[in-house]
Amino acid sequence: MEFVPDSGNTAWVLISTALVLFMTPGLAFFYGGMVRGKNVLAMLMQNFFAMGLIAVLWAAIVFSLAFGDAGNAGFVGNLDFAFLKDVDLGAGPDFFALSIPFVLFAAYQMTFAIITPALITGATADRLKFAGYAVFIGLWVILVYGPVAHMVFGGGWLSDMGALDFAGGAVVHINAGAAALAVILVVGKRRGYPHEPMPPHNLPFTMLGTGMLWFGWAGFNAGSALAANGVAAQALMNTILAPAAAMLGWLIVEKLRSGHATSLGAASGAVAGMVAITPCAGFVGGMAPIYIGFATGIICYLALGLKKAFGFDDSLDVIAVHLVGGLVGSILLGFFADPTINSLVANPGVLITDGGTDLLMDQIVASAVTLGYSFVVSLGLAAIIEKTIGLRASDDQQDQGLDLSLHAETAYSN
């Protein structure tokens, strides 16, 4: 093997892979703190299980679906890399122009595939059967995640068209958010919702999860440069500034509307900011992340009202935070994308020197396609599973708590 990877770039992607892997436990705690104590293990379990199942499926087939036949401007990859064939210590296909080992690229991308279905668990909290959930995310990552990742990250038609997505605003957040919406339409509301109060059982866990997510997001966004260079540096700066500004935006509206600035609000605003900056991270600079973040904080807070307006039960606000946040970021990228930050920006954003609306249009198309594709397939998938092996936990199981009824465990004891 003659390929000698760049040690600095490799070091950065190695640790970024570990960081993104660490986000799934972070998400588990972010969500786990918000559910009731009788369901916390079920929530943690769903997230950790995604690490087990998706990793194996990724090696078997999904990596190949996403990144096989890269650059084909099509809808899905092929099976060339199935079972990790040729996923070795070399540079991989020229398309990726890697300075790191191809096997590392595969590992890094795997961590994205793991967390994406895990994001859905916040919407469906407190009412999913474990077996149905396992089957759902297994099929989903093959039928939805693989193709969407290919279209955007693998040189498929959306990226070929010109849409930009630095680290997964569409692939991860719009995608998971749309799926979440579909699944909750199938499984219905939590037993007792909305009349029974269901306060978070351990908000410090949610804050802990927020800290872990923010930390891991450094690898998620800045790692997506696949190199330890200026773009990565800018992406990291943005990944601090946007969540910070989003936290402020969220807290200000919250204070004005409900009279209090809450810790859950601070956490939620920050996460919304992380979501929104994801597609933009390596493409915008200067004060743009602050504008994007601040707008996101306000918009996502207001989007909380959607679930009341439309009458669905999105337990932990995945729609407001991930779907809306992902859309806000993907579309604002059309305003702020800046070629002086990243030469991959072919069409500068509306507000940038020499900018126009070309990119904005591409962003809207890519967002809509992702949303629509994910929603439709997820809806079908969830409906079939609900009809067959069952996806919604029974009333008795929900009353007793999923931890005991599904997993024969209790979270806390003396």
Partner: protein
């Protein structure tokens, strides 16, 4: 003056509280407890070891009430707490010799 004590299923607390309010109850004291009884405990599994847990989470309510309203309150409580499944719990009444509101020093019926 009587003290009505009831042990109920936790997820029934909200409904019971509403029923009691409707029955005119203005105060009560609630404790998280563990019940042991006919309702069979559940099995918990930790690393392959199965434990039978005979104690089930329950909620205990204590309501001080004038003698005259005890039956009405009991009925309201039983009505709301009942699921007809084993483990619904008990309700019992004891005599109270004296009761006082700490804030005002009022005694007896005034105090509850």
């Amino acid at each position: 003056m009587k003290l009505i004590t009831a042990v109920i299923k936790p997820f029934k607390l909200d409904q019971v509280k509403e029923a009691l309010k409707a029955a005119g109850v203005q105060g009560m004291t609630v404790t998280e407890v563990q019940g042991f009884g006919r309702q069979s405990g559940h099995t918990e599994v930790y690393r392959g070891a199965e434990y039978t847990v005979e104690f089930v989470p329950k909620i205990k309510l204590e309501i001080l009430a004038d003698d005259g309203v005890v039956d009405a309150i009991s009925e309201a409580l039983v009505g709301a707490a009942r699921t007809d499944k084993i483990g619904d719990g008990k309700i019992w009444v004891t005599e109270v010799a004296q009761v006082q509101r700490i804030r005002t020093g009022e005694r007896g019926g005034e105090a509850v």
